[in-house]
Symmetry: C2
Subunit: 209 residues, 2 copies
């Protein structure tokens, strides 16, 4: 079938979902389209451009699932609820692909239309919440980069936690008593994420009056 920018991005997303960010290669994308690697370069300037297009697609999907989540919200939902809905929608969209956070992180400046859509809606909810205009931009920036940063740490955690010997553990406890201590409750990632968004919202609420 004919080769198109869209079909290339489609194949890229498919390969991406299978092998992850690090192992995605032009040749694999071409193979999935029964084409040769060089042919891709007629439609796409470079691998970086392809990655940018894929990042845009992830953002667009996140935007769509975000609108669904917002629509499912009860009418008396607070602005915190609306922000949390968008944040979790974005997080889940990124998490669907192995290394998806790296894809967004690497993409330069978040200047694709998909990323801008996310930003725009976030700005609107913050503005509707009554946040002073001067703080909205930074607040939205913080939210977006927090979500990607969170998923980044989430996806980079090794599948099998490193084995620590007893003596090493003791040394760690002595060197970093707070980290090893009871300060950090053993929460699931979902709970940690929800709590972090709540904490951020609390900050926004603080400057709200």
């Amino acid at each position: 079938m004919k080769l198109t920018k869209d079909r290339i991005v489609d194949a890229g997303m498919a390969v991406f979902a299978e092998v992850g960010y690090q192992n995605l290669s032009m040749r694999q994308v071409a193979d999935r389209l029964d084409a040769h690697a060089g042919s891709l370069y007629y439609h796409v300037r470079s691998k970086d451009e392809l990655l940018a297009l894929m990042a845009d697609r992830v953002c667009r999907r996140a935007h769509d699932t975000g609108t669904e989540a917002l629509a499912a919200l009860p009418p008396d939902a607070t602005w915190q609820d609306r922000i949390e809905a968008q944040a979790t929608a974005l997080r889940l969209s990124i998490k669907q692909h192995a290394g998806g956070a790296q894809l967004l992180a690497e993409s330069p400046g978040m200047l694709s239309t998909g990323a801008l859509s996310l930003m725009e809606r976030l700005l609107r909810t913050l503005l509707d919440a009554g946040l002073p205009a001067g703080h909205c931009g930074i607040a939205a920036d913080i939210l977006l980069s927090h979500v990607t940063g969170f998923v980044l740490q989430e996806q980079n955690q090794p599948a099998t936690p490193p084995t620590v010997t007893a003596e090493l553990y003791a040394e760690l406890c002595e060197q970093f008593p707070l980290i090893m201590g009871p300060l950090i409750p053993r929460l699931s990632q979902d709970e940690k994420f929800a709590q972090s968004v709540h904490l951020l919202c609390a900050g926004f609420a603080a400057v709200l009056e």
Copy 2:
């Protein structure tokens, strides 16, 4: 001279500072040591391990400059000042190398001792500030990932801002009025960073009482 893990990391940091994260290769690191690429693998299991070691070194340097910054603080400094000092020290340490944020972002889980040192000190200042113990871990996590995320966006911004035609600009203004509007003041990156840290601290202060 003899080849050592430390010397390899040194050379890696030197090459890293020159060519950045993307173009760092084992062969260049070996060249700087007048050695051959294969020889590195006797001391280092893989390139990923080398990158992890380098990330640890960046964290350690950030920790040191952080202690200096804290020492230079007046004795009546608030806990917000102390957090900002650590945050800016970390940011500047990362910014010293092109792609330094990617180095930290890629490094799995931030489980090196350097990263743990940063985390530990952040936890202590938050705890001393009076933040409830249950929130300290998440607050510190937010701060760390926010700094790396901020520098990530900072370093990924294309050197020459993309040229936008007049009609494209108009369309963007219509599609994203809030982003293009006066909401986002034209602040320098330094100001944006300081303000974002202040906003986060305001959130911590909100849950403080």
